[in-house]
Amino acid sequence: MHDLPQQLANGLILGAMYGLIAIGYTMVYGIVQLINFAHGEIFMIGGFGALTAWLLLPSGTSIALALPLMLLLGMACSVLVGMGAERFAYRPLRGGPRLAPLITAIGLSIALQQAIWAFYPDAKKARPFPQFGGDPIDLGAFSIQRGELFLITAAPLCMIVLALFVSKSRTGRAMQATSQDPDTAKLMGINTDRIIVTAFAIGAAFAAIAAIAHGLKYGQVDFKMGFIAGLKAFTAAVLGGIGNIYGAMIGGLVLGFTEAMATAYIEYIPGMELFGGGAWKDVWAFVLLILVLLLRPQGLLGERVTDRA
């Protein structure tokens, strides 16, 4: 079991990224019971937004200086698309049969992917994303890339801020109320439409942060990166308990951990020699999903969805 600590570290960092994306899925599902298929593309667009900021800055700007601006533009793009999707694609269909918003989400996902592919300069192949130069930081048992520092600081920060927001702030409590019982929330004077938009916006912002982390880690962004990442992130959300924001992060970490461990070590299990390595990386998330649905469908931390009769 060589470099187990390194694999662990890799897995958890990857998992934190999944977790951030998963929060967007879980918040939206918790409030309006919609799988926002376009969320993966919102993640991708955040990455491209950040890239755009980088490209607009004078060349030679250090990444550390550019990062806040990239963050700003990336989040702005994601949030805009997310809010736009809610307002113009999903809201008109609220109250009708559930199939319509799902199909709309799929259509939106495809359209956004293709829009970037067709219109963003040079997006037909992956576009390189700025990196933090310098050697990896050696922490003894394992080392981390400099770029990963961003996610290591951002993810816990986001979770803490979100937890405080949801439990302590007025809007946060309104969100809790809306996700438990939207009609009664209205009777409290809560503008549920605005709450829903806020949920979409927060999810989108977190996705943008994850996208920047993705770009820093893998050195590129491409128009397809939202598809698989989105699928895995929703798996993470289900794994942790759909609608549960803490579950989303936990689910993400578990998923990242599983993926890293399986990819590195499954070949040591007799009979599974050929199933290791990157080729099967994406399959483990699916296996995990099936296991969770079989054994504990409400997820690790339990669901948090409206009690619809």
Binding site: R173, A177, Q180, K186, G189, N191
Partner: protein, 238 residues
């Protein structure tokens, strides 16, 4: 003197089925007015329309001099019309304290809110004992008290109660009715929807009997209590 609430020719439909077919009534400030009738008569639909959860097909609703047509639900609460819905609908995963706080969502005066919460605990001691418990763990009667307390937190001008006695034991029902009486004594205007006609009419200043979407009988609480057809239909007399 214009009434606090004026409903004129209200019509509400689900798709093409009209559940409320043109009813008119009013509620004066300080009164308790009750709507009685069996299931399906349109009482809950009426309340849900008044509080803005449903959109009417036609008719006008004027509350405190302000037309309510087209006003969204959360704004109606702002105007002073509170609704404690049928089935109580407390927020199960939030604590009692948090539920009460949500009732005061629109208020900014923290001191006043804290005071009102204390008052709610005085009025319903059981809530005070369990204030940190998730509301979903309460019994039906306790939840009803919480719902009423929560609705009062917004210091409404008019409080609408939808079937507060539903599913409650006779003792609890008694307690609820007593509480309504106390509220009335303190000057709160109340619109009460009830299936328990006896209790409701005993309490009410004025009452209306609804059947399949229409008001078929109106009068003071006492008069209705003694009315022949009402006794036959709703009070179990032979």
């Amino acid at each position: 003197m214009t009434a606090l609430l004026e409903v004129e020719n209200l019509r509400v439909a689900y798709g093409k089925i009209e559940a409320v077919k043109g009813i008119s009534f009013s509620v004066e400030a300080g009164q308790v007015v009750t709507l009685i009738g069996t299931n399906g008569a349109g009482k809950t639909t009426t309340l849900r329309t008044l509080s803005g959860l449903l959109k009417p097909l036609g008719g006008t609703v004027v509350f405190d001099g302000r037309k309510l047509n087209g006003v969204p639900a959360h704004k109606i609460v702002e105007l002073g019309l509170a609704h404690s819905p049928e089935g109580r609908h407390i927020f199960p995963r939030l604590t009692i304290a948090e539920n009460l706080q949500l009732g005061a969502f629109l208020r900014k005066d923290n001191a006043g809110i804290a005071q009102d919460i204390e008052r709610a605990y005085e009025r319903f001691p059981i809530l005070g004992e369990r204030r940190k418990q998730p509301a979903g763990t309460l019994s039906g009667g306790e939840q009803q008290m919480l719902a009423m307390g929560r609705a009062l937190m917004s210091r409404p001008k008019l409080l609408m109660l939808d079937e507060p006695s539903m599913g409650l034991s006779p003792i609890m029902m008694q307690k609820i009715m007593e509480t309504i009486g106390e509220l009335r004594a303190q000057g709160t205007t109340i619109l009460l929807v009830e299936q328990n006609a006896q209790a409701a009419l005993s309490l009410a200043d004025h009452g209306h009997v609804m059947e399949i979407g229409k008001i078929v009988l109106s009068g003071t609480g006492q008069d209705l209590l003694h009315d022949e057809s009402v006794r036959k239909a709703y009070l179990g007399e032979d």
